[in-house]
Amino acid sequence: MLTLEFVPYSEIENLASNERIDKLLGIVKQEKIVLMQGRLLPEEETLLIAETMAQIQKSFTGVEICTIYPEEKNLQFFNKFKKEMVKALIGHRDGITIIGPSSVVKEIRRNPNKVELFTLPQFGSTKRAAPKKRVKRAATKRTPKRRTVRRRR
């Protein structure tokens, strides 16, 4: 079963960077995929990577992360100023961040406005699983078939 957990920006708004990362990693470590409203700051993203690396074990091999947000190209000065003001007031709420454990999410492919999430076969991947290797069975003594002997009349 695949679980997605939504984290609204209001939940992490008042947290410090370390606390944000701890919260997100805490959810990811429960083998859930985080859908977070908004995005982390670039410094927080590196902090997330560093923290992930520090916590890597046999059971936790890392995360897959992806952020999509509206591209702001060729904005006029006033519009740019307006956007920056909004950002300063309400934070980086635009866009969405997806963080999944690498034990569940094999790969996240991002094209500018599209995200493809490839999960591992046991979590419902549509990709065909690699053919299983034939395991040689331990040699067991075969019982000889019973031969029915017809009696000649």
Binding site: L41, P42, E45, I49, I56, V63, S102, I108, R110
Partner: protein
């Protein structure tokens, strides 16, 4: 006579002292102290700003930049060490580190100091910082696919995680950065975006290197489209293809 001389000297000293200080920065603006005092009061902010700006410009043009820390960042197996080796071989005739097809071959920061690069009558000295590839996941089982033993793979994974943390710490210490990407891969990966976003937030000049252009699958345009606000150079560090353009872009960046 002697007294006169001394008095003259003393007066000239008094007059020249502030001018000398300035002369080291900008000789042309040296002026007698009384006049400057009178002017400085009336000097508007704009003039001050312009003077500082000109001084900075002149300094940046003529002052010798010493030992620029050139960081080489990117995802694993993009060709960072291959590029570092190529630069070092071109200018000091030495290699910097070992290269392998197995990811995370570089697992610790490597610094090569005093690499002087000459291009178009210009000369600059760099301290080249080759960093381990930045990744968000490291699984020791992936290394076992490269015919590694269990313990060997686990050790490699452990060292690789430490290397990534170290590479992130070094982000604050570099002056200029090359972000090396594999031009055959999708450039929209979050690691690339994170590295470039961080460098931009720190105001560090970035040159994006689309490596492995000698391969058929290579697509420089895709890299250019992904990072339109940065200068992108397509090259092959392995075969030394397009190195001229690379050095040109590097000097333009600084």
């Amino acid at each position: 006579m002697a007294t006169k001389k001394t008095t003259r000297r003393s007066t000239t000293k008094k007059k020249r002292a502030p001018a000398k200080k300035r002369a080291t920065r900008k000789r042309a603006q040296a002026a007698p102290p009384k006049a400057t005092k009178a002017k400085s009061k009336a000097k508007p902010l704009m003039v001050k700003f312009l003077r500082n700006f000109l001084r900075r410009m002149i300094n940046s043009m003529f002052a010798k930049k010493k030992d620029i820390k050139l960081g080489i960042y990117g995802p694993p197996n993009a060709g960072k060490t291959t590029l570092a080796n190529r630069i070092c071989q071109d200018w000091i005739g030495e290699r910097m580190g070992s290269v392998s097809k197995i990811p995370h071959e570089t697992r610790a920061i490597q610094v090569k100091e005093q690499v002087t690069i000459k291009y178009d009558n210009k000369e600059m000295t760099f301290n080249i910082v080759d960093t381990p590839g930045i990744a968000t996941k490291i699984d020791y089982e992936d290394f076992m696919g490269y015919k590694m033993k269990n313990k060997q793979a686990k050790d490699r994974a452990k060292e690789a995680t430490k290397g990534v943390i170290e590479a992130i710490k070094w982000l604050d210490d570099v002056d200029v950065c090359l972000v090396v990407l594999d031009s055959t891969e999708n450039p929209y990966s979050q690691v690339n975006v994170t590295i470039i976003g961080n460098l931009a937030a720190r105001n560090i000049p970035v040159l994006v290197v689309a490596n492995k252009t000698d391969l058929r699958k290579s697509n420089i345009r895709r890299v250019e489209n992904a990072f339109p606000q940065y200068d992108v150079v397509g090259m092959s560090a392995h075969k030394g293809k397009n190195m001229e353009e690379f050095y040109e872009s590097l000097f333009r960046l600084i």
